[in-house]
Symmetry: C2
């Protein structure tokens, strides 16, 4: 156990936004929310997965919907706790032992910190994705058959819903239409889990990994190349491209930010081009027409100079970025994992190929 | 108190379908459901509003969505009880004293009978509309500020939702999108009420009125004209038109049956024409371009010969019908009533005029 100080929160927000692969919300907004909660209610304890009891009960809290909307519907601060407590009351569990993030992301890694601070609960170093994904059934708990419901959903105005569904696909369907009606973003608590379930089905050490990534990205007086090398070593990643954003096509639809960006190569990649497709999160990267990384592997955009994560809602014409690819958690690379979040699920007509293979192939063919 | 026998249920289904003004579901389906529940679980007690205690607690059960869909998604029978009990459990009220219909309609008057039979509860002679309306806030309880929530909603597959909203318009919005996602029809329990609230804000004697209407319509060995006169006397109604359906434009959209029918005059009305607009329920009747009846007053279509109610989902080219208009319950004719269900709410650009006035005007102008 240790306490999360201000510097830790800063770094977690940045690192989680990197792992958010474009989604999961803006780390600046997330950081402000978490720091203000800690200032008001006191510091938050971080428990490693080994420090929790199998029979204890934990509830995550998160935002669902189009991350771009959050910028306009800035949270009041108490809505996360409300949805969390709504689910706790519904479950009849008076002694919730802690909270944890649903996914890695600039906002969704911070919401549990707000809840933890406000309720004096510990944060657990575990999530349900090890990255961010756009839909509710795209959670490692789901791969092991753990139900997403009972879940609670609420808007910032105060309306609340509870769902109990026949499967996690129906959770996504019903929560999604409610989210869209609530204004394309909503607060959710779902996948209530025991300590044993988190040990078995969660992605461990995600908070500390985020923090470590954030430390590297925000470290001062180092050049980008040096920081990048350390980052790639840490996450077993690849620098796939360096480019300037020359076109972004996007729409907010069905409670998602959907779109595609076009990059023109710069520096070492001058003359090349890359397209990145996204649904909240970056899903597929094509270099000169050839796929070099695909979901569930991570496609992370960072600022060319500072390595700050670039979220889909902040994509801008002319921005210079690096595209980094890294292998997904092994749970996503199983048959059920690929069925749930692989390219075919998102409508791409090809099988999943691991980024390690794709990069090898691209190098061999000089793409 | 009295028991509802088979004949009573038959008549209630038919009479409620008449008051359903085209919506509220097909009385034949409704009747089958109720009779089969009574056969299986025993007879149902009907309590008048004076026989219930102020402090007792009652919950309605109903179907929401496009009535046409029910024909294809035929109920299994236990889903009404499930949604009722879900709400009862959520409210923590173990002793629910009875149930009542939300609206008059061929199916929605029968669902509470199914629930009453199955749970051994009495049915109360009261509803929340005195007719049928398409949206959840269009309930007399709402006019008195009684919240629609907590409400429960479920589909026939077994997924369940509970909503607690900031107002009854938000109940409609969230339940509507859930209904659409559930396949355009869903089961709901909402507007939980005390006996005192039902006495204050409900429409009384609706079950017995439906029964009496049904008796007249289904009475044998009488000619249509004679039965019609008795019916019009009972409900203070007007025969607005006799016609043949020559055109029906409709679509199922947003969880509603929307459309418009065109009638060509027959018999006494030969040479005339009428248009009737509907959103599940008939909303406006125009005779030769002049409005002769408008919401909240009731516009009821019946078979020309048998006087059987004609629901919007059963409109057919060539069918010969009579169009009957009758004044709405006085609660709907208040300022708040007209705001909630008057013509302007449904997008018609004119103020509400009572059917008595419109008929007088039409007669004077020989429309």
């Amino acid at each position: 156990m240790r306490y999360l100080d201000k510097a830790a929160v800063d770094n977690i927000a940045v690192g989680a936004a990197f792992l958010g692969t474009g989604g999961g919300g803006d780390p600046y907004i997330g950081k402000l929310m978490a720091l203000s909660a800690i200032e008001k209610f006191g510091p938050v304890k971080l428990f490693s997965i080994d420090e929790i009891k199998d029979e204890d009960f934990f509830i995550p809290a998160a935002m669902m919907g189009a991350p771009s909307v959050l910028v306009e519907k800035f949270p009041k601060g108490d809505e996360f706790v409300k949805v969390f407590q709504k689910l706790a009351n519904y479950l009849g569990k008076e002694q919730i032992a802690g909270t944890f993030p649903m996914e890695a992301g600039g906002v969704n890694s911070m919401i549990p910190i707000v809840v933890a601070a406000q309720l004096g609960l510990p944060l657990i170093d575990c999530d349900g994705m090890g990255r961010a994904f756009p839909e509710l059934q795209m959670v490692t708990f789901n791969l092991d058959g753990i139900p997403a419901t009972p879940m609670a959903i609420s808007d910032e105005k105060g309306s609340v819903g509870i769902f109990e569904t026949i499967d996690n696909t129906w959770t996504e369907r019903l929560a999604r239409v409610a989210t869209v009606e609530m204004g394309a973003s909503a607060l959710v608590s779902l996948y209530p889990a025991t300590g044993a379930q988190m040990k078995q089905s969660g992605v461990h050490h995600i908070v500390t990994l985020s923090e470590r990534i954030g430390e590297i990205i925000t470290s001062k007086n180092r050049d980008a190349k040096d920081k990048l090398q350390e980052l790639l070593n840490l996450v077993s990643g690849y620098e796939l491209f360096q480019g300037k954003i020359v076109d972004v096509i996007r729409e907010t639809k069905g409670g998602f930010n959907l779109g595609r960006m076009h990059l023109e190569g710069i520096e070492a990649f001058k003359g090349g081009e890359m397209k990145v497709h996204f649904q909240n999160e970056n899903l597929v990267a094509e270099k000169t027409g050839q796929v070099v990384a695909m979901t569930p592997d991570l496609i992370c955009l960072v600022d060319y100079e500072t390595l700050s994560p670039v979220t889909t809602e902040s994509l801008k014409y002319g921005k210079r970025v690096r595209v980094i690819g890294l292998p997904a958690h092994e749970k996503w690379r199983t048959e059920k994992g690929v069925q749930t979040v692989g390219p075919r699920y998102f409508g791409y007509d090809y099988d999943y190929v691991a980024i390690e293979e794709l990069v090898k192939k691209a190098v061999a063919e000089n793409v």
